[in-house]
Amino acid sequence: MHSAPYRVKVGLATCGIASGAAKVYSALEQALQGTDVRLERTGCIGMCYCEPLVEVIAPGGESYMYGKVTPEDVPRLVEEHLKQGKPVRELLIMGEGAETDDYSFLQGQHRILLKNCGHIDPEDIESYMAVGGYEGLKKALTSMTPEEVIEEIKRSGLRGRGGAGFPTHAKWSFTRQAPGKQKYIVCNADEGDPGAFMDRSILEGDPHSVLEGMLIAGYAIGANTGYIYIRAEYPLAIRRLKVAIQQAQERGFLGERILGTDYSMQIIIREGAGAFVCGEETALLMSIEGKRGMPRFRPPFPAQKGLFGHPTSINNVETFANVPRILHQGAAAYNTLGTEESKGTKVFALAGKVRRGGLVEIPMGTTINEIVFNIGGGISTGKPFKAVQTGGPSGGCIPAELGDTPVDYESLKKIGAIMGSGGLLVMDEETCMVDVAKYFLTFTKEESCGKCTFCRAGTYQMHKILERITEGKGREEDIDTLEELAEKIKAGSLCGLGQTAPNPVLTTIKYFRKEYDAHVKEKYCPAKKCKALIEYRIDPEVCTGCTLCARQCPAGAISGEKKEAHEIDQSTCIRCGLCINSCKYQAITVISEPRVTA
């Protein structure tokens, strides 16, 4: 028998659970009963494309990562690997004997922030402390003045990860210097970009690092109360935060007279209520105060007049998670990473048409191509790479030709996109860029709080034009009108929502003008996505008359005798595409052809 026992870790973040990780965990729990194997749960390992993930750590410390594990695989894993010491090769994606190229997913990354995610048990404070957790706080409270903490953050070069990249030390320093005894620290965990999940993964996988960051920030600015504003769509993250708060209190890291000093802090969780605009800092504060989340004019900035009228520093989840590392390891170690203007690393939620989607942490300055190809493994559909979208509804589409652009605040801004909070969506040739622009405008139009006329009416107008274009009713002048509207909305909006809402439209026009022209002038959709411009057709040679599609069609548009070729009536077809999925013989195709209009 071996001296130290095997350890087995299962990634139990939302994405893992959605892929069935909880079932795998239970199966392992049963199978391992009575053995000395240690079964542990952990957060998101980051390789979401391979979930559920199970890591086996051998007595000698070697790690073996298994991907796409099902409960049915468990008996083999236990028998062959844990009992006989022979790794199960077919399931192995990383570690000695693995035959896949999945190791390159991690090789291109530089994980300092995600170091704990997928390694420690997020519901056990000991697990966090064993890897240096709360050392940063100890150092700050026992050996540094608040000013020194701020100075250290300044030296690290840390900039806000919530999107705008504002220097964190400056925000803290303003809040510290603002007159008033009562001050607040607020964590923005609203993660509004609809295609991003880094903040969720950090909160689910390493919640204490965010609490520790808030505690250090609170000490630096002189706040005794902190709020975490988190979106309600993240129930697991909320639960783990509550557990973490409780444990930190029991350990004396949170509450009265922390670590025996006279610094006290309480942290309160507030759930969002489904309004994107509440990610904006002034709206967020209104929401915590129990009102409608409407942004207000700045100045005064929250650092002067924030929550309940008191000086407040609002920072993003990832920004806070950086703080303990900086304090613990020192600013000098931190700022060796990244570029001149953008220090450290950035976490991205890599998704879309990419082979290996997941949680990715790269040093600032890594290029888009490196992320998409080296880490992401290229395009999942095998079709050519077309674009990436960063920054969600506030960001832009970057075409494949600009794939050499380094990812940092300034470079992305220069090409019309933004760093954003970390959503990175990969698009292939089958993505219609006009449809993407319309998608984002649908979103911003609905999420505009309605306070500024240009934002409210302007986004509505832009959306209407985009809708017209995708319906094949676009007019020659439409693209110019879109550009004019964009400028007006940018200039006439109070908050970032309106100021940035036109970005997806502007960048797609700039880089994919041809596609707009195809829709407007030739009335066709090159990517075959826009419903009004496509047709579904059944190939009579291939159709066997199995009637499956006819039964699936919600519009009753498909007719034909049994065992004879079927036909789609184009005038009743609603182009939902359900028939394509139902056909076993691939007899149905979608087409879009240029039409010359008078």
């Binding site: 939302t14 994405c15 959605a18 892929s19 979401c48 494309y49 979930e51 993660e191 509004g192 970009d193 609809p194 295609g195 991003a196 999940f197 969720r200 993964s201 309600a232 769509e233 993240y234 129930p235 639960r239 509550k242 507030r270 759930e271 969002g272 209520a273 489904g274 309004a275 994107f276 929401s287 915590i288 105060e289 129990g290 009102k291 409608r292 989340g293 309940f308 939620a349 998704a351 879309g352 048409k353 989607g357 997941g358 979208q389 969600g392 959503g423 969506l425 698009m427 993505t431 993407v436 998608y439 984002f440 709080c449 699936q552 919600p554 939902c576 595409g577 359900l578 999925n581 139902s582």
Partner: protein, 182 residues
């Protein structure tokens, strides 16, 4: 622990809805800006927030009912109508949109007979469109009650709905059996 509190309130609500609201208000009485958490708890307990519930909450908390109403209409999370037995939230975030969320919603509408944003005539399903559920690598994604389903296809949707219908049938006949026994 958390779920215990929830079932707690739910049991209370089944017995005495007005008292449940009073209890919710009481639990938040020490908080500043409690209006939203109060309304959230009411919705978690009852599944929606009706005008009468707001009236009661206003009475107990002293927050003007107009203020509560303005919050409920501003935030997308709040529902003014009761929901069906099963709540389905289809993600229409960017990743899911690219992966064909529209098709998933279409097939859900077809299978459940509920329109997006509404409840099926048999009261079994409510279908809602939401933004990102944070599982973008598994797009397209939906949640059914508390459970997340990823890498959806119209076929998978069909199976999931069928299974739920079967469960509902079973419960119904089991329920009938029980009431006959009594």
């Amino acid at each position: 622990m958390e779920t215990n509190i929830k079932t707690d309130l739910k049991n209370l609500a089944a017995e005495n809805p007005v008292f449940a609201i009073k209890e919710i208000v009481r639990r938040h009485s020490m908080q500043r800006g409690a209006a939203i958490p109060i309304l959230q708890d009411i919705q978690n307990t009852f599944g929606y927030v009706s005008k009468e519930m707001m009236q009661r909450a206003a009475e107990f908390s002293g927050i003007p009912v107009g203020e509560l109403y303005s919050i409920v209409t501003f935030y997308a999370q709040f529902r003014l109508e009761p929901i069906g037995k099963n709540l389905i939230q289809v993600c229409h975030g960017t990743a899911c949109h690219l992966a064909g969320a529209e098709k998933i919603t279409e097939s859900l509408q077809f299978e459940t007979k509920a329109q997006a944003g509404g409840t099926s005539p048999d009261g079994l399903f409510t279908v809602e469109k939401v933004a990102c559920l944070g599982c973008c690598s598994l797009a397209p994604v939906m949640t059914l009650n508390e459970e997340t389903h990823g890498r959806l296809t119209p076929d998978k949707v069909k199976k999931i709905i069928k299974e739920k219908r079967r469960q509902a049938e079973e419960e119904k006949s089991a329920g009938k059996g029980a009431s006959q026994d009594a």
